[in-house]
């Protein structure tokens, strides 16, 4: 291609070295690391290249005056890897910093816990023949380690608790912080008065366990987010921009600014919203509105990012988002939906609201009870604090994160990426599922519908010839090719088709007229949604019917969901004649068609007002407000960008099975969360009487705390059993989820 690739917006410079981060496709094994790194280092000017295998990202540094970013990407392509410039999102950078901070806290707490436990165990085991001076010395030493360590490692909890208190709420971190602070304070007072028991070890060990839970939770979310970021980078399309001089430069779609003039060739997706300046074509809006019938556009027409350009080249002037009528509508509805959505209270916080007052009341009653029974004020308060320490919700705070980590791992293996921490709980609560049709129940790209009726050899020849064409219909046919090698010498006649000489005879693929005026043998019931493409070779000819097809496992998944007791509905923006056969094929009785975004929201709100918890599954731009309004939402990875940003979870691949897996795993996870909460409560019921009676020595506290934490963690791991038996590699679903219509 004569035009240059401009990646300047992704390059950062430091002195005379430049740096770029790339998301790399197809990295599968150890050999790839070396192949990529040594391959790039051989380039003159490349200073360093390092591939992060965990998140499939490549960092390259080079001397700016010798090569450019485009050369790096091209060099990778020569080695056999497609790389896409990657702009780290600010949220992701912040998360990485947060994870590092949590790890530091964890390290400090771990160091302190080990050293204090060393001192505590010697006090416990040697309390008989250990002199009082030695014991005091060990206690002071413990205080010396524990106080700075808790001040540093406790920050995540203290900050969160303080935020909650300031907004007059209770979360799990309030009783945790209170327990830790009281344990430290009491131990300090006891140590100063040469007492036998100090609880420094309990306080620090508690922090260590809780930080473990918090770090794991965070790490899992960060991992799925990194993969989602990679998928976004892999999907990021390029745009062809007219420069002032009239030449065309290929730029990343993210670099396009309002006012730019773009060229959109047939077979490419429209990279940005805009107005057509010149050219005429047919546009497939199915990703935007769900409409499967193509629309003719000419100069003056408004087109949206994500639409597929079918027949002719268009010149486009980019307009700022928000000026197009549809986008305007969607954004306004989105704001409204986000504002109206009541803030979901997480299960853990709901438990904390119930738990914290009860624990604090028990502690207060203990103190009052001992005073009434004639104990000294000092002893009563010590016992009350021991109650608070033993009830400090270590197991309770681990109960839910541990399940979430295990469940999001299982979901990830099933091809579902979560956008938030409480999504699992909300998924488990859904009782009604609303599907969009186009791109959700059906595959996002059209397929050959009558492949089964056609001689396989003829189909293979036609499909290989189709590889040479850029037309979207040819792309659909090309998907059938088993051998991905295009036929040599194929010539494309724009607007008509491709021809080549195969085995000495001319082969033609294209419109019916181009192939000698063929007549289709039979045509489906919905003529408008079916496109025909003809093929003739060596006297044999055939007509392929290309149309939207159901996802391969849609029937089974819908049947399984129905048998799980879900109320299933379809809300589509497409015509009734297109929706009816799909609904009939899937056995979904409740369906509506021709809906505008506002009508979809209204339908969802009506259901939610009737007490239903709605799971919305959709991919179009027109679904975005509905996804935001629903209790929980899922979208396929092929969805429009705005839509994906609204969805609580994204699923990969061309099967619908991840949706079924998502609700199954979520329900299982919620069951385990509840079990864990009950286990934690049972532990308290057993341990609190011991504390109230005044027998909660530091040794008892330490054993009870670690025992209950290990128990809930083990229980959480049961999420992994039986579900997610299919360990697919990260790279495989990612590659499959790629949109097929790439600019060549």
């Amino acid at each position: 291609m004569a035009e240059t690739l401009d990646l300047s917006m992704f390059v950062t410079r430091d002195g005379d070295t430049a740096h770029i981060d790339l998301a790399v496709e197809g990295v599968a094994c150890a050999a790839c690391i070396r192949k990529i790194e040594s391959g790039l280092k051989r380039l003159p000017g490349v200073v360093d290249a390092r591939l992060n295998f965990t998140n499939r990202r490549l960092a390259v540094d080079w001397r700016d005056d010798e090569i450019g970013a485009g050369d790096v990407v091209r060099a990778l392509e020569v080695i056999g890897y497609r790389a896409h410039p990657f702009e780290p999102k600010r949220a992701e950078t912040e998360e990485a910093q947060h994870a590092r901070w949590l790890m530091k806290c964890l390290a400090v707490a771990g160091f302190a816990a080990m050293n204090i436990m060393l001192l505590s165990v010697s006090v416990w085991s040697g309390s008989i023949d250990m002199g009082q001076e030695t014991r005091d010395f060990f206690h002071w030493l413990s205080a010396l380690i524990a106080l700075p360590a808790a001040a540093y490692a406790g920050q995540p909890f203290f900050q969160s608790a303080w935020r909650a208190i300031r907004s007059r709420q209770l979360n799990m971190d309030v009783p945790i912080s209170l327990g830790v602070l009281l344990a430290l304070g009491m131990s300090l007072v006891e140590t100063a008065s040469h007492a036998e028991h100090a609880y420094f070890d309990s306080a620090v060990m508690l922090l260590f366990f809780l930080l473990c839970g918090r770090y794991l939770d965070h790490a899992m979310r960060r991992k799925t987010r990194a993969i989602a970021g990679n998928l976004a980078a892999l999907k990021a399309e390029t745009a062809h921009r007219f420069e002032d001089g009239g030449e065309i430069v290929q730029v990343a779609a993210a670099a396009v600014r309002p006012g730019d003039r773009l060229l959109v060739r047939p077979g490419e997706r429209v990279p940005a919203d805009g107005v057509v300046l010149s050219g005429a074509s047919e546009i497939d809006d199915s990703l935007v509105t769900g409409e499967t019938e193509r629309r003719g556009v000419a100069a003056g027409a408004v087109i949206y990012a994500g639409s597929m350009n079918f027949s002719g080249a268009l010149t486009l002037r980019v307009t700022a988002a928000g000026t197009g009528t549809l986008i305007d509508d969607v954004e306004r509805l989105l704001e409204k939906a986000a504002a109206a959505k009541s803030r979901y209270v997480r299960l853990a916080d709901r438990a904390a609201r119930f738990y914290a007052p009860m624990v604090h009341a028990t502690a207060a009653l203990t103190a009052l009870g001992w005073i009434a029974a004639g104990a000294s004020l000092h002893d009563s308060i010590i016992t009350a604090i021991a109650v608070l320490i033993i009830t400090c919700p270590c197991a309770l705070a681990l109960a839910i994160p541990a399940v979430q980590v295990a469940a999001s791992g299982a979901l990830f293996r099933a091809g579902v990426i979560l956008n938030g921490g409480d999504v699992i709980e909300r998924l488990a609560e859904a009782d009604t599922i609303i599907f969009d049709k186009t791109g959700t129940l059906t595959l996002p790209e059209p397929r050959v519908d009558n492949a089964g009726d056609i001689d396989p050899e003829l189909l293979e020849t036609a499909a290989r010839l189709a590889l040479s064409s850029r037309h979207p219909l040819a792309a659909a046919l090309a998907r059938e090719a088993r051998q991905r090698a295009p036929i040599e010498g194929a010539v494309e006649a724009p607007g008509e088709g491709v021809r080549a000489v195969i085995d000495g005879e001319e082969a033609r693929l294209g419109s019916l007229a181009f192939c000698g005026g063929l007549r289709p043998a039979s045509q489906g019931s919905d003529k408008t949604a079916t496109s025909l493409i003809a093929f003739s070779h060596a006297g044999r000819s055939t007509v392929f019917a290309i149309r939207q097809r159901l996802r391969p496992d849609a029937r089974e998944v819908v049947a399984s969901l129905a048998s799980l007791g879900f109320d299933l509905r379809i809300l589509s923006g497409d015509r009734p004649s297109a929706v009816a056969p799909i609904a009939a094929a899937l056995g979904i009785v409740e369906w509506r068609s021709g809906l505008k975004p506002a009508e979809k929201i209204a339908a969802i709100e009506q259901l939610q007002a009737a007490g239903r918890r709605v799971l919305m599954v959709g991919d179009g731009l027109n679904d975005a407000p509905a996804l935001a309004a629903a209790h929980v939402s899922v979208s396929p990875i092929s969805a429009a960008d705005i839509t994906q940003a609204q969805a609580d979870a994204v699923f990969l691949g061309e099967r619908l099975a991840p949706v079924l897996a998502a609700v199954r795993i979520a329900r299982r996870a919620r069951r385990l969360m509840r079990q864990n909460l009950w286990l934690a409560v049972a532990y308290n019921v057993a341990a609190v009487p011991i504390a109230i009676a005044g027998f909660a020595t530091p040794l008892v506290a330490a054993v009870a705390m670690s025992g209950s934490s290990i128990l809930v963690t083990l229980n959480a791991l049961r999420v992994r059993m039986r579900v997610g038996q299919d360990p697919t590699d990260i790279a495989v679903p990612a590659a499959r989820a790629m949109p097929t219509a790439r600019p060549a």
Partner: protein, 51 residues
């Protein structure tokens, strides 16, 4: 028990050195790519250098 006077600080110092080493390696980004590190050890790219 006078041995504690220097044994305890020595033990604490050793622990602190370990902690400092871990924090240093964390800040150097040595834990950013756990899977890659496991695979890199299999590469034979040091054999040429040894010859």
């Amino acid at each position: 028990m006078n041995v504690l006077v220097y044994l305890v600080p020595a033990a604490l110092m050793l622990g602190l050195i370990g902690l400092a080493a871990f924090l240093w390696s964390l800040c150097r980004g040595q834990y950013d790519d756990m899977e890659g590190a496991a695979l890199r050890v299999l590469a034979d790219d040091d054999l040429d250098a040894m010859k």
